[in-house]
């Protein structure tokens, strides 16, 4: 009797120690991953003199927007932001239209070769971009598309395999009776897509648009390869240029630029958290 009671006590103790340890590790880890962001924000708001102090300053003694204003004067940031938005807008529109259309085809129509084609589609999500990079550059160069946004935008108009997959997953949850009814009423296939499927797909369309936007906002290598004119740069390329600025840029300016690029994504995340997470999670469950 006492033995089991004792056993119980030590078991409970063990369990609560373990639990405490888990909290400790998780909290320490969370601090470790978030402190770098604090570092970026705090350094962007510091006078340059404080940045160079040793040991490094944890909490800025005085705050200044100096880094932001000087960075803002150095480069035409509104223009760069506009460029990114322009690329993102046309890519999102093209991607939503084409991916929806393809996903609709894969979901509702049976045809010989459908399974094979869908398998090929899924496999392309694993295709390493490295093998298409050089020939695509040559192709776009022949088309005289270098230093335009077309190489970044046009491929988005032919559907993205991952988004097609997401949309198909969603379309499969819609009741087939709905389409049958519309078909009996004489609605055309394109009409069904436009009048029935699309209006029901708001959330998933929002999810893929946000994924696409996030990707475009971050995109670096594409613009690096295809754009030459400074005034056509998107934000990502501009921040890279600021880092290597021949006139010299200060670390506080770099952190201001980093903040400028990060804050919109954080805001989007706060508003559309669900879509971010859904999008990422779908990637993993396709198995």
């Amino acid at each position: 009797m006492t033995a089991t009671a004792e056993h119980n006590v030590s078991y409970k103790l063990q369990k609560s120690i373990l639990k405490g340890l888990v909290y400790l590790v998780l909290t320490a880890g969370a601090v470790i991953v978030l402190v770098p962001l604090y570092w970026m924000f705090s350094r962007s708001l510091m006078p340059l003199g404080q940045y160079y102090e040793i040991p490094p300053v944890w909490i800025p003694r005085s705050l200044t927007l100096e880094a932001y204003t000087s960075m803002w004067d150095m480069y035409p940031w509104p223009r760069f932001i506009g460029n990114t938005l322009q690329i993102a807008f046309f890519a999102i529109v093209g991607n939503v239209l084409s991916s929806t259309c393809v996903a609709y085809g894969f979901t509702y129509f049976r045809a010989p070769g459908r399974t094979t084609l869908f398998f090929i589609l899924l496999s392309t999500t694993m295709l390493p971009g490295v093998v298409t990079m050089v020939p695509l550059f040559i192709l776009f160069r022949h088309l005289k598309w270098i230093d335009t946004y077309l190489p970044l935008i046009v491929p988005a108009w032919f559907g993205s395999a991952f988004h097609i997959f997401l949309l198909r997953q969603f379309f499969q949850t819609l009741p087939p009776d709905l389409f049958e009814a519309a078909r009996i009423d004489g609605c055309s296939e394109i009409g069904i897509l436009g009048r029935i499927v699309l209006p029901l797909s708001g959330p998933v369309l929002a999810a893929i648009s946000i994924l696409q936007f996030q990707w475009r906002w971050n995109e670096f290598m594409g613009p690096l390869i295809y754009l030459n004119s400074f005034k056509k740069y998107p934000v990502s390329l501009a921040l890279y240029t600021l880092r290597g600025e021949p006139q010299g840029s200060t670390p506080t300016q770099l952190m201001a630029g980093g903040t400028l690029m990060t804050v919109p994504v954080l805001i989007l995340f706060v508003i559309f958290q669900r879509y971010f997470i859904q999008g990422v999670q779908f990637t993993g469950i396709k198995g």
Partner: protein, 313 residues
Amino acid sequence: MTVTPAATTQVGSPKRRRLSMSRREALFFYFFISPWIIGFLVFQIGPILASLYFSFTSYAIVDSPQWIGTRNYLRAFTQDRLFWTSLWNTFYYVGFGVPLNVVFAFLLAVLLNAEIRGRISYRVAYYIPSIIPGVAGAVLWLILLNPRLGLINMALGVFGIQGPNWLASPQWSKPAFILMSLWGVGGAMIIYLAGLQGIPVELYEAADIDGASTAAKFTRITIPLMSPIIFYNVVTQIIGSFQVFGSAFIMTGGGPLNSTRFYMLHLYDYAFAYFRMGYASALAWVLLLIIVAFTLLVFRGSSAWVFYSGGRQ
């Protein structure tokens, strides 16, 4: 591929019409998926074949490609010292980075799937670094890794450790990039979390009734049921890590002493700095073959540990 049968349906007999119904459906199918098929041919298959062809040519973009057989490949393997350097750097990055990323992401997901107060906040905290834009993350880590003024060495200093020179040191530059990649582990964590939430609770309850220990539940239920997701993640991480580019390009440009000259940086130089498209294509194909070989290796190994309920899909 002829349109005539569909066009003649109006005049066809009922039997013929039923036959053409499936034909009609097939036509609609190919009509709707045609954007993807065109994109697939023009932006994927076409370029892949073209790059295979270019890899056997000497092609300084302004001239037309000249067939030179396997000379590009021979040159890479026998004369290009930096090819081996960049290959080694990349293997280092993949070899240490991928396993560490997978283990950390999975353990975090398991911890944050448990009944823990405030677990949503923890999840958000760990997830946030993975959504920071790449260029912003790169400039931030330049500052964090600064030997004298950076956060990392300051934190190490608290424990009495004299931090290394990180990006200025050929020995520590690659670990610095691996460390940085671990910062973004939250993205994979979220995927594992989704998988963990999909494991039926009844399985654990049944195990509890049978008196199974926590460790037994973990190795007999959690790991097997999660193995397809782990497997998928290992594959995508391998593919992604072999092509690491942006962070190194921005932060070190391949230095110091080529210690962070990863494979893609080497390829980028040949393609877009020297415009030697033939050689760059050969480099691309070598990397593709390496990636395919590794993926196949993981696939073949997977039958031993990946568990598919209800058979392979």
